[in-house]
Symmetry: C2
Subunit: 224 residues, 2 copies
DNA sequence: GAATTGCATATTGTCGACAATCGACAATCA
DNA sequence: TGATTGTCGATTGTCGACAATATGCAATTC
């Protein structure tokens, strides 16, 4: 099979399939056949199965015993569900991060913020997304709650999937969104938890509304 | 091995191991050997591996590639982390359930509440716990957010584990806690989201404090 | 013609075997 | 002595084969 040293086969496979789902190359409701993936990647079904378990944890596929794996649906409703949770959990992150962030955290936050600002300036949407995930990662670590971090990271793929769908519509308002991250960094530095949380909640609602406009404007994937 | 038709082997194995971890028969940090479980249960390692993946999703074990599975730690910090998330997510549940609950939901809630009240009356702690999980389940469904439901259910095993540890100290204050569930049912019926959320947050902080007292070895006021 | 049954095929579930890797301890060397 | 390397048993990773189950389609029945 491949030439790369397969450091961790299931993880590798997972990432590959993950990317396909996020990019909508594998459509919602579509069935994923173990044997097919295994052959494509030149491995046996065992690591593919493990990859599917991970994807299930990340909510990109649904596993039904004896029926196999299907790409999870993603509708306007899913987007609403997602952002309501997003708001609650990142609200907690914001509050705790403002409470616990040390100088090192703030420095990393500044780096991520810079990245976001520059990407927004250039209109580079991909880089912008990378930046906000970096920012989120720093914030999560600063919140000093690994369980929260894990829970949130399991939702990242869903987040990326939703964002990917609205990618081409995003360009216009990048600069506007940058202000949120600037505000977040500021509140973290000041240790102003309540305002940080409030700001996040507003942001989440904005993002939800944005994603919903897209989802309702153009039909996303279909099933069956 | 057994005579039962193994409808879903990984699930069965998962439940068995799950219970052992929750009851502390498998201790935090303890290694779980695939071959050992497989032999004990009279199955091959394949279904055991899948069970371990599920347990990882439920945060009862940690899976490190090429090192195997270990029972996750559970310390005072873990308890704090857990209840902070608990508060955020059940806060959302409470708010949404108060908004969306229909007559059927309220009826089921009343049934669960009754179960809780009777268990508290009898001092039956196990039944009390069953009751509150039933209550939580109804509330989650009433909140009309399957993603939230899934996320929360993946945290149930952690919840049970924490509660199990404080089992024998629980008896005294069951009746006091009952008032909380009565209040929740009331707010749900009234559609009073904000108060429901506020009540949940208070409850979560109480539970956190209680669990922490136990974890720190202090026997809640009364010496012993 | 619609629903039901029975089969052939496709797909998932489980197994046992072997390969790759890890951890601990012994042997070696500076 | 103390650090490094080598070796061996224990354990996880991957595989291919077979068993169990589901699915789609054609034949059958009413």
């Amino acid at each position: 099979m491949a030439f790369i040293a397969p450091d961790n086969l299931p993880e590798l496979l997972m990432r590959d399939i993950s990317e396909k789902i996020i990019r909508n190359a594998l459509k919602p409701g579509e069935r994923i056949l173990e044997a097919k993936i295994a052959e494509e990647m030149g491995v046996s079904r065992s690591p593919v199965r493990e990859a599917l378990r991970i994807l299930e944890k990340n909510r990109l596929v649904e596993l039904v015993p004896r029926k196999g794996a299907r790409v999870t649906a993603i509708t306007a409703q899913h987007i609403e569900w997602f952002y309501d949770i997003y708001e609650a959990l990142y609200g907690l992150v914001a509050r705790k991060a403002a409470e616990y962030a040390d100088d090192d955290d703030l420095r990393q936050m500044a780096v991520a913020l810079d990245r976001i600002e520059q990407a927004a300036e250039k209109g580079d949407v991909h880089e912008y997304y990378n930046g906000i995930f970096e920012f989120a990662g720093v914030g999560m670590r600063a919140a000093r709650n690994p369980l929260l971090e894990q829970t949130l990271k399991e939702l990242w793929p869903s987040n990326r999937r939703i964002q990917y769908a609205s990618l081409q519509f995003r360009k216009d308002d990048l600069k506007q969104n940058v202000r949120f991250f600037q505000a977040m960094a500021k509140y973290a530095a000041e240790g102003n938890g309540p305002m940080a949380e409030k700001e996040i909640r507003k942001y989440a609602q904005n993002e939800k509304a944005f994603a919903l406009r897209i989802a309702n404007g153009k039909k996303m994937g279909k099933s069956d």
